[in-house]
Symmetry: C2
Subunit: 299 residues, 2 copies
C-alpha cells in the first residue's frame, strides 16, 4: 500500500519552559512523514529552499521516506518561530516567514498519483484540493486544517470536506467551524459537510472519533515530561495513517488501533525538541508503549 | 459490606443555559448517597434544618439509604445558589447560607462505627477527620475536598490525607495543593502525603487514577446534552465507592470498573437538574450505559 503525504517542511525556532531549539527541522509534513514511516513507506510532497540543510534531507530519506516529490526552489525555506508557556495547549507565534512555501502548488510525480492513502497536512485547502484531484483512486484520504483556513478559506475547506474519508481538527476548530458549543454537536455538524469520519484532537485529553452512528473516545497517554509540543498533531496524524496503510482492512478495530498508535507516536514527538526523539525510536519502543497504553486504559 | 457517607445536604437554586431549578435537593451527601445506593446500602450522616421537606427525606429513604444518621436541627437547611455559563466546568456561586450546617459535628450512630467503607464527601477536613476517628475498622476510606479547604485548612487536610485509601480531587485542586504545574507530578506529590491512591477528576475529559507504580486513564462518557453539572463529582464518588462496597475484593480490575461506574453514574446526574434523572434510573439503565462505555473506549 502506498502513502502520500503533502504538507509543509520548515525550519523552526522554538522556546519552551524547558529550553530553546534554534533553526531545527519542523513542518507538518516532516513530523507526519517520519511518524508514518515507522509503519509504511511514505511518498513526501513538499517544498524547501536552496538553504535547506543536507543533513535534514538525509535524515528524512533515512526514515522510510521517498523524496522524489520534494521540490527545491531557489530561495529560503519556510521558517516559523514560536514560544510555549506552561500551558502547552497553545503556541505564541513570534514570526512566520513563508519564503518559497508561498509558491507551493505541486504537480505530483507519476508514482504519487497512484497513492492508496493520502494525508493532506495543514496547508491552504485550495492546494489540498488540487493535490487530491491529481490522485487517481485514493482509498483513504485524511486531511487536517487550522483556524486560519476556517476563517479565511471556509468555502474552499467545505469543498475539500466532501472528498474526505477522515477530517482531523482540534476541539476549538470544530466549534469555530460549526458555531456549536458542544464538541459532540460540532462533530455531528462536520459529518454533515461530507467527511465519512471526524477525529477531534483534544491534546493532553486524548481524541474522539465520530462516524454517523458511533463515537470512540481515547484518553491521552500520560507523560511526566513534555519538552516541546510542536508537531504533536501532525505526528498523531502520521501514526494514524501510517498504521492504516499497512492494515489489510479498515475494520473498526483497526481504525481504533490506528488512533491509539497516533496517540503513542505523538508522545515520542513531545518528549524532545524537533524530531530529536521521534526520529530515533525503534519498533520495539513503539510496541512497548502501545502495550502500556492498552494496559493503562482497559477496564 | 456497609457503606457510610458523610457530607452535606442542601437546598439548591441553580441556573444553567438550559433553565432554572428553584429550591431543589442538593448537597454532596445527597448526590453521592443516591449514586452509591444503586450498588450497596448506604448509611447517611448529614444535617438538615426543620424546614427540610419531607418529600426529599422520603425520596432519599426510598433510594437504599438508611437515614438514622440524619440530624435534624432547629433552623434552616444549608442553601446554595449558583449559575453556570456555557462552560460547565465552573459554577459561579451566587449565595451560600450555611444555616444549621455550621453546627455539623456528628456523633456517629453505633451502626455507622462499624462501617467497612467510608466516603467523606467535601466538608471541613477537621470534621472529616473527627468522623473517621469514630469508625472502628474501616477497610476503605475515600475523601473529597475543595479549593477552599486546601487554602484555609491545609494542615488539617494533610492530617486527613495520611488516613486515606483514596483521595479525590480535581485537576486544579491537585495543582493548587502541590504547586506542581503537571497533573502527573501533582498526583505523585499527593501520594507522598499519605493516601494509597489519588484520583484526579478532569470533568468532561475523564479521570486519572494514580498509585505508587501505575496510572489508569479513563475518558469521559460523551453526552450530547448536559443540563446541569451540579453534583457530578459527588455522583462519581458515590458510584465508585458504592460499586467497590459490593465487590468481594479490591482487585485492580474492580477498582478500574468502579471508576468507570462512577463516570457512568455522573452522566445520569448531569442530564437533568438536581437528582431528577439520577434518582429515577434502573439497574438496567446503568448496565446498558456501562456496556456502551466499555464498547466506546476499547481498542
Amino acid at each position: 500500500m502506498s502513502l502520500l503525504i503533502v504538507g509543509s517542511i520548515g525550519i523552526d525556532t522554538v522556546k519552551t519552559p524547558f529550553g530553546k531549539a534554534d533553526s531545527v527541522l519542523g513542518g507538518s509534513a516532516s513530523y507526519s512523514s517520519v511518524s508514518a514511516g515507522y509503519f509504511s513507506p511514505v511518498d513526501l510532497v513538499a517544498i524547501v529552499g536552496t538553504d535547506f540543510p543536507d543533513e535534514y534531507r538525509f535524515f528524512l530519506e533515512s526514515k522510510n521516506i521517498d523524496m522524489e516529490g520534494l521540490i527545491t526552489k531557489k530561495g529560503k525555506t519556510f521558517r516559523w518561530s514560536g514560544e510555549y508557556g506552561w500551558d502547552f495547549s497553545d503556541a505564541k507565534t513570534l514570526s512566520t516567514k513563508l519564503n518559497v512555501f508561498a509558491q507551493f502548488d505541486p504537480v505530483l510525480p507519476e508514482k504519487c498519483k497512484n497513492a492508496d492513502h493520502v494525508f493532506l497536512a495543514n496547508i491552504d485547502p485550495e492546494i489540498q484540493y488540487k493535490v487530491l484531484q491529481q490522485v487517481k483512486k485514493p482509498k483513504l484520504v485524511l486531511a487536517d486544517t487550522m483556524n486560519f483556513w476556517i476563517e479565511n478559506k471556509n468555502k474552499e475547506l467545505r469543498k475539500l470536506l466532501k472528498k474526505l474519508d477522515i477530517f482531523l481538527c482540534n476541539e476549538s476548530e470544530a466549534r469555530q467551524f460549526t458555531g456549536e458549543g458542544s464538541t459532540v454537536k460540532a462533530a455531528r455538524s462536520l459529518l454533515k459537510l461530507g467527511p465519512k469520519k471526524v477525529i477531534v484532537k483534544k491534546g493532553e485529553h486524548g481524541a474522539l472519533l465520530f462516524s454517523d452512528h458511533s463515537v470512540f473516545c481515547i484518553p491521552a497517554f500520560l507523560l511526566e515530561t513534555i519538552h516541546d509540543p510542536t508537531g504533536a498533531g501532525d505526528t498523531f496524524a502520521g501514526g494514524l495513517i501510517g498504521y492504516l496503510a499497512q492494515c489489510k482492512k479498515y475494520t473498526r478495530q483497526n481504525l481504533r488501533k490506528a488512533i491509539a498508535m497516533g496517540t503513542i507516536m505523538a508522545t515520542f514527538a513531545v518528549e524532545d525538541f524537533s524530531l530529536n526523539k521521534l526520529g530515533g525510536i525503534s519498533a520495539g519502543d513503539i510496541n512497548k508503549r502501545f502495550k502500556k497504553f492498552q494496559e493503562l486504559t482497559c477496564f
